[in-house]
């Protein structure tokens, strides 16, 4: 029941918010719905802690250690983004960037997006997972094109086409998995994760090998793995900032979650380590490509979207390595990246809003105008660069250790990528934060508590991780990488 | 016993103080003879010192305390340096307080003060001299250290006392390695003491002078202290050379007879070295300033060759 309510709350919220339209109550209502979702997630977590993993609604929904923390994370980031977008979107309307009539669409689509994320996570059915991912594509595509600027529309179009093709490939992969499973499980249960895991050793390896190719290409497009990443920078750069934050913080995670689930399925039966190797390859390519692309960027949000490619690549790489340590590290990395990257986008959005441009060459001296914003931005940038003691450092540390054990040849490449990424991002961040301010300032009142709260959470992850979370990670690692 | 020890030390210091001007006079006299001049006599330096001491000194308006203090510092360091070298006997209380490296350090202390004092007045010549003196100093230092290493490696210590004791034990032989080191040492001595061909101590030709440029503004007793100090420096260098390369005759025991012989032998070594210096200064012309690095580089090379020789021959 609690699982069902968790997806129904945002769905109902979407209807309500769509009905409210552009009334200012929508901004608060959005927060309320998100808060309710988070409460539901909390109740669900409490039950899971009490009873252990459980399923609901004819086994169609389920929760286990792997998705429970992602559900919590999703609900949390959804709430903080809702809080952030209250002030941010109001300012966007006030500054004339956004037609107020579109706020209703924005809120409805936002809740639909959250709904689809949660559904994708807790659905026990690989078909429903696929449909939820597609719903997410639709809703975010509309959100990316929210400003109706030509560039925004172009980005949305690109997003549509590429993710559409990706989603189609993922469907083919899903069909193949069903094809492999239905001879073992029979027609009706061949789509349920809980059943599939039980028979994963008996699934036909030849089919699963090819199915995984399509699944990683399909869902990998949504993760933003190189070379399927082309939509990602545009969508992040052109959409409203809260959407950039949830794209990076949630959508990429959920897509990676799907890949990881399928990897656990595919790598059990096959003798070769094909899925793992594929993920290592794509992950490494994304890490390197993302890192080396950072230096050439001028657009603030585009810069950090390439950083998302890099970090998702790192997580993919770590999942590909397999083994409890790497998987633990990858899960931690997903969590830390989600929180940090959304904080980075919050701060970047505030910077772009108050400076009136996203062109980094023209942003200087934030520290002079607004020291608090400057420090927040600097802190977020440093956190995303994997500077201790933030959580990303912890996960990168563990990933390196795991990589040295399993694929030592990759470590120099990873270190190179980390170094290059640092040089590229920090060069820009410093130039923006320090120096003398140029140009007129647009009066805004940035809402910094949200990014700061995220940074605090990431700090906790790096300095004193809650044992509960670690226990989940360990459990989840046992589940996907036995 | 202790009293004896300190008395010997005191006597050596007095000997150095007294004989240093004589050595300078002797070198000058030899040069005069070699140039077919009559010369001013062996005692001329004493007369000059006395005259300078009696004159009223002149201090420029711009001078700071550093300027006035420097002659004392230079003189004092030279005297203390002389006390550190076992010229006559190895039983000196102060010789144990410092080894050859410290000795080099003491000399560079004096050099740095002299250079700083020259810069104190803000004259073109002063700062130029300071720069040149320091240049020669830092170029000579590695060569000097390499020279010291050869005997130090033979005897296993950089202490001059140990070196003298070890080398003198083997009887009168000059190792090939030591021969190379000795030539290098002579070259370093010439550079460090501002002698030809590196510097000409007898000229105030503005653009070529090194050592003299440092003393331009001194007069009276300050100049006397500096000149006396310079004489002691030459004396000490010859003393070190004698200890390193001709340690025979330096008193190992404490008998008065031994000491007397040691004094006599040391005076003979001084006279020979002084005459040799005069010959070198007569034969060679002054080098251009930027040939000095090559000159000292050669000294360094010879010293290194000596060192390698030691590995080859085992001693």
């Amino acid at each position: 029941m609690i699982l069902l309510s968790m997806v129904l709350i945002p769905l109902a919220g979407a209807v309500l918010l769509g009905a409210l339209g552009h009334r200012s109550a929508g901004l608060w209502c959005n927060i309320a719905v998100s808060a309710a979702t988070l409460c539901a997630a909390g109740v669900m977590t409490a039950r899971m802690l009490h009873d252990g993993p459980f399923t609901a609604w004819h086994h169609e929904l389920f929760v286990d250690p792997l998705n429970v923390f992602l559900v919590d994370l999703t609900a949390l980031v959804a709430l903080s983004t809702a809080v952030f977008s209250r002030t941010y979107m109001r300012a966007e309307v006030r500054l004339g960037h956004l037609n107020p009539a579109r706020l209703g669409v924005y809120h409805a689509m936002y809740q639909i997006f959250v709904f689809s994320m949660l559904l994708a996570l807790i659905s026990n059915n690989i078909g429903v997972l696929w449909i939820a991912m597609e719903t997410a594509t639709l809703s975010t595509a509309l959100l990316v094109g929210l400003y109706r600027t030509p560039a925004g529309l172009e980005a949305a179009w690109k997003y549509f086409i590429l993710c559409g093709v990706g989603i189609a490939l993922a469907l083919l992969g899903t069909i193949m998995v069903y094809f492999a499973a239905h001879s073992v499980l029979g027609a009706h249960r061949a789509l349920l994760w809980t059943r599939l895991y039980g028979v994963r050793d008996r699934l036909n390896p030849a089919i699963m090998t090819i199915a995984f190719v399509f699944l990683i290409a399909g869902y990998g497009t949504k993760v933003g793995l190189v070379p399927f990443h082309a939509w990602l920078p545009d969508a992040h750069a052109e959409g409203p900032t809260p959407i950039s934050a949830v794209l990076s913080g949630l959508l990429l995670n959920v897509a990676l979650y799907a890949i990881v689930r399928f990897k656990a399925l595919a790598s059990a039966g096959t003798v070769t380590h094909w899925p793992g190797r594929l993920m290592i390859g794509f992950g490494l390519a994304s890490v390197l490509f993302g890192a080396f692309s950072l230096g050439g960027q001028r657009d603030l949000k585009r810069l950090f979207s390439y950083s998302s490619i890099e970090h998702m690549g790192l997580a993919t790489f770590a999942f590909g390595l397999g083994g409890p340590l790497a998987t633990f590290a990858a899960l931690l990395h997903m969590t830390a990246h989600s929180l940090t990257k959304s904080s980075v986008f919050f701060a970047s959005g505030e910077v772009a809003q108050s400076e009136g441009t996203k062109d980094m060459d023209r942003i200087t001296g934030i520290m002079n105008r607004n020291p608090a914003l400057g420090w927040t931005f600097m802190g977020s940038a440093l956190a995303i660069l994997g500077t201790p003691p933030f959580g990303i450092f912890a996960s990168e540390f563990l990933i390196l250790v795991a990589a040295l054990r399993r694929a030592p040849w990759s470590v120099p490449l990873l270190i190179l990528a980390l170094g290059v990424a640092f040089a590229a991002i920090f060069r820009r961040a410093q130039a923006m934060v320090f120096g003398s301010a140029a140009g007129p300032r647009i009066p805004t009142s940035p809402s910094l508590p949200v990014p700061l709260a995220h940074l605090l959470l990431v700090l906790v992850l790096g300095l004193a991780m809650p044992p509960l979370l670690a226990a989940w990670y360990t459990e989840a690692a046992r589940l996907i990488a036995p | 016993m202790i009293a004896h020890l300190f008395m010997r030390q005191g006597v050596q210091i007095l000997f150095v103080l007294a004989m240093a001007p004589l050595l300078a006079g002797w070198v000058r006299q030899c040069r005069a003879w070699l140039a077919n001049r009559a010369g001013a006599g062996l005692l001329q330096p004493y007369r000059e010192l006395l005259r300078l001491l009696r004159k009223q000194p002149v201090v420029p308006h711009e001078a700071s305390a550093l300027f006035v203090a420097t002659p004392y510092i230079v003189f004092t360091t030279m005297v203390v340096a002389s006390a550190l070298v076992p010229m006559i006997t190895i039983h000196l209380p102060l010789a144990g307080a410092a080894d050859a490296v410290v000795l080099a350090g003491v000399f560079s202390l004096a050099r740095i003060f002299a250079a700083l004092a020259a810069m104190d007045l803000g004259t073109g010549f002063g700062s130029m001299g300071a720069r040149r003196a320091m240049l020669v100093g830092f170029l000579a230092e590695p060569a000097l250290l390499m020279v010291l290493f050869t005997p130090a490696l033979i005897s296993g210590s950089t202490s001059l006392v140990v070196i003298v004791r070890q080398l003198a034990r083997h009887g009168v032989i000059l190792y090939p390695s030591m021969a190379f080191a000795a030539v290098a040492y002579v070259m370093v001595t010439l550079a460090e003491n501002a002698r030809l061909p590196v510097d000409n101590p007898d000229t105030h030709l503005e653009l070529t002078m090194i050592h003299e440029a440092l003393n331009l503004e001194y007069s009276g007793r300050y100049l006397a202290l500096i000149e006396w100090g310079a004489a002691i420096k030459l004396f000490v260098y010859i003393g070190i050379g004698a200890a390193l390369f001709f340690p025979w005759g330096i008193a190992q025991g404490t008998s008065s007879a031994g000491l007397a012989i040691a004094y006599a032998l040391f005076s003979a070594k001084l006279a020979t070295a002084g005459a040799g210096l005069a010959v070198i200064e007569t034969v060679f012309a002054k080098l251009r300033l930027f040939r000095v690095p090559e000159f000292l580089g050669t000294a360094f090379l010879l010293a290194v060759l000596g060192l390698l020789m030691r590995y080859l021959f085992g001693h």
Binding site: I131, E134, A141, T149, V165, I167, F179, A180, L191, I210 | -
Partner: protein, 219 residues
């Protein structure tokens, strides 16, 4: 061997042929007609599968497909083509004969790639997985080679048809095939709406960075 394998295999061959025809055809109106034919073949195959398995949800799926892909979507596309005044696709860089050759290569590749699956499967229409794979790759090729948005959308539609074809024919009906179909059709619908949004510009696939940045500055 599943019942009615022979006619379904025949339909599969026809399906592939139609995809080739789409790849070859550059006149938009004809392309839409061919798409309608593809829809017909798909509907027929679903109906056959439904008949073979006597499953109600496959019948429903066949009806839905027939309605959408033979009638509605082609009509919508034709209207759109008229509105936007696009009759011909722009010249593509690659000659038609070359395209055909590449397509042939893709088909050979797809058949080979599908062999292990066909070998592993039992009691299923093995060949169809190869044909579905080939159709998907060919549709992707069409999306790559066509320059106007409308033809790209048709390429995507062809891909969607291939997917549904695979889902229904290979396994004789996955449990959620209707949901999949609806979901895909929603995205198709949004695609077509997207074309409306974009009718301001005749060509969407060039993302000129300089232009975007200039716009940014002027904003």
């Amino acid at each position: 061997m599943m019942p009615l394998a022979a006619p379904i295999n025949l339909l599969a061959a026809l399906f592939l042929l139609v995809v080739f025809a789409m790849l070859w055809q550059r006149r938009l109106a004809n392309l839409i007609t061919i798409y309608a034919w593809q829809g017909t073949i798909l509907t027929l195959s679903i109906a056959l599968a439904a008949y073979a398995t006597h499953s109600a949800h496959l019948y429903a799926s066949a009806c839905l497909n027939g309605l959408l892909k033979i009638v509605l979507v082609p009509a919508l596309l034709r209207r759109l083509a008229r509105r936007l005044d696009v009759q011909w696709d722009r010249e593509s860089l690659v000659q038609v004969s070359t395209v055909m050759l590449i397509g042939l290569g893709l088909v050979i590749f797809a058949f080979n790639a599908a062999l292990p699956i066909a070998a592993a499967g039992h009691g299923i229409n093995r060949a169809i997985i190869g044909i579905a794979l080939a159709s998907i790759l060919l549709s992707l090729l069409m999306m790559i080679l066509r320059a106007t948005a409308l033809s790209q959308v048709i390429g995507f539609l062809a891909m969607e048809n291939s997917l549904i074809f695979a889902a229904t024919s290979v396994t004789y009906g996955m449990p959620m095939v209707i949901e999949f179909g609806i979901a895909l059709d929603v995205i198709v619908g949004v695609f077509i709406l997207g074309v409306f949004f974009f009718h301001i510009r005749e060509q969407f696939d060039s993302l000129d960075i300089d232009r975007i940045e200039r716009r940014e500055e002027s904003r």
